[in-house]
Symmetry: C2
């Protein structure tokens, strides 16, 4: 009998969901599990978006436009223009099925099979799936917990460039580290791609989630310097707590990129119609919504950061943005500890699910780090911290 | 400057949307365009589904489950079991982002790059995009308008099999031809894949759209014979007029296939949450809904078939199912005629958009056929027929 394809077998398992069977088993045994493993926010979607559902008038859920519903594209232009990026036109925007599809399209558009994209490690584990799916090789460049996972020197990056390098992909504010790259770091990346004439792919789905500075530096600040080399990946999932709406964006001034990915988009017909109509209300979301969301995450960030530092042997830097952080634990193999929490540990019949850090590295199979997504309310976060603290003590025994 | 990837440049343009710029230009000039080019039904979505929107209670549009919302999977099981396919369990079903994603996944799962899938020509043009996207080579086997595009002899199929053949993909009821394959034809395909030990991929998104017989033969009728070789592609788009809901299904009893495509699904996180909740109401759609839809399409089919035969030089067979037909026109190049209709022809300031047939063939660049989707109401269809009739006369002058 014909086997399934080798490439199907080679696909990695999502680092975020790898331990799901253990969590399911724990829940079956009646245990409450706090999910720190996945960035699925508990924040409410803006009322003005939810109202679209209540007031829905169309009687046929027809296909949406392949490139995105005109109403949504107009709303997105309003959003980018308000941020100061007035060079962007409707022809530069493709609405994608979540940010994930934008990642896949950017790999397909820039690379032939076997081509390489540079990436800073640790990185969002689903990038690996998207790369394997498109036959692209991710070449990882290490960053370290000691300096808050900021970018290495230019020469460390340039020494990884080969003839097969077609781009650099970076994410700021960063998932999984929480780092927000400084302007000078993005400028360095811009200089590199300008010199080597390949693409700079910037994942900015956490753009607003910056806690201590003003705003994060966007790759769009550099449109004048490298107009045809920038591909922006964006998503409304986190910004408007709209993860299940699957609304992403691929933006580029490069016409060949846009006309190419539009052919992919036509091949899959459209993104969801209802979700796009809902998303187009972003122009009516009050500024206070975003402010309150950021404030809430800042509170959570401060709470979990302080709480973690109090646990003996735990090390982390204060995350600057997004709602993730990589945390070094006083264990050899954090995955083994994460399984221990789900399988064996209980505190008042509750436990915590963590995402093992190794899944965010392509160079490591074992790591003492975990990624934490602080997407729980402060009460639950406090309980989760206690569980990690007590869990570590129990694990050592 | 780095060019975009060769594979991006090589992607075909959707046959269905290729002439869209001409239609847009015509509309700008104030012309009404009847769209016979695309299968976007005008039928209303079931009320019970639309009511989900009105009564939506969740306040956070969270990610759905990667494999599909449990509620929707339960509803799908109900649907398949009711059809008599009681072997199917929830572990055999993956909810996809429209049928298109199921096509892409089936190619990725069965083929490594360069591997081959057999397909009967003319075929749904987006299969070509999905194949190019996954590096799969579609090997086309001709069928002809004279016998209503039914399958050729077994030896015609088997002579196309090479070491790289990993499956046969077929669609019944067929888009673009309207053919509904007989049980003996499907049995022949089952026998072939059984002998040669590869996969049988069946696209049954038009399952209910059969006008003259009882029901179409499903590949699921053969689960006992080749349990691990069947991949079913399905979609709720046409069945419930839910095209913009992007709810597709990949179904297989083969565990390696399912666990593999689930990894892809996890990499793209989930299909839409609202759409899945809406779709799960399929269990409450009254049987009269489907009956009325089929009745309406049968009326349209009869009208357009009779109308076309009255036009001098036009040839077609009566379509047996779906809502498409391939029609031979008395012109050399049907694409040129389709452009003529959009650019130059008017009848009471109205015209028709057709999908040039060549886009549904991989072996032809020019064809005298067009694909017609009879998704307009009978009044509009009558006008469209008149326009084609008069347009052909004007075109000849």
């Amino acid at each position: 009998m014909q086997k399934v394809s080798q490439r199907l077998q080679d696909l990695p398992i999502s680092a975020v969901r790898k331990l799901t069977p253990y969590a399911v088993a724990a829940k079956k045994r009646g245990v409450r599990v706090y999910h720190l493993n996945i960035g699925d926010p508990d924040i409410k979607t803006p009322r003005v978006m939810l109202n679209v559902l209540k007031n829905f008038k169309l009687e046929t859920i027809r296909y949406a436009q392949s490139s995105g519903e005109p109403e949504l594209i107009k709303a997105l232009l309003y959003y980018y223009h308000k941020l100061g990026f007035t060079k962007i036109n409707s022809e530069n925007i493709l609405v994608t099925v979540g940010g994930s599809e934008a990642v896949v399209m950017s790999f397909f558009a820039t690379c032939n099979p076997g081509d390489e994209v540079l990436i800073f490690e640790p990185f969002y584990s689903n990038y690996s799936v998207c790369a394997k799916f498109t036959g692209v090789k991710l070449i990882s460049i290490p960053t370290s917990i000691e300096n808050g996972f900021h970018l290495p020197d230019r020469k460390e990056i340039e020494k990884k460039i080969t003839k097969k390098t077609k781009g650099i992909l970076y994410c700021s504010p960063n998932n999984p580290t929480g780092a927000v790259y400084f302007r000078r770091e993005i400028q360095m990346l811009v200089d590199i791609v300008k010199k080597h004439k390949f693409f700079l792919i910037s994942d900015e789905v956490y753009r607003e989630f910056v806690f201590d500075g003003e705003r994060c530096t966007s790759v769009l600040d550099f449109l004048d310097q490298i107009p045809n080399q920038i591909i922006l990946l964006d998503s409304l999932s986190k910004r408007y707590s709209l993860c299940g709406g699957r609304i992403g964006i691929l933006m580029s001034l490069n016409k060949e990129i846009l006309s190419g990915v539009t052919k992919i988009a036509q091949g899959r017909l459209s993104a969801g119609l209802v979700d796009q109509i809902m998303a187009s209300k972003l122009i009516s979301v009050p500024a206070s919504y975003t402010k309150n969301v950021i404030k809430e995450y800042k509170t959570r960030r401060d709470l979990i950061y302080k709480g973690l530092l109090k646990i003996p042997g735990v090390f982390c830097k204060k995350p600057e943005g997004a709602f993730y952080m990589m945390v070094s634990l006083p264990v050899k193999n954090a995955e083994d500890f994460a399984i221990f929490l789900l399988e064996k540990f209980r505190l008042n019949n509750e436990t915590v699910m963590l995402a093992p850090g190794a899944g965010f590295y392509s160079s490591k199979v074992i790591s003492n780090e975990v990624r934490i997504a602080y997407v729980l309310n402060t009460n639950d976060l406090k309980k989760a911290l206690k569980i990690i603290d007590m869990g570590l003590k129990a694990y050592k025994e």
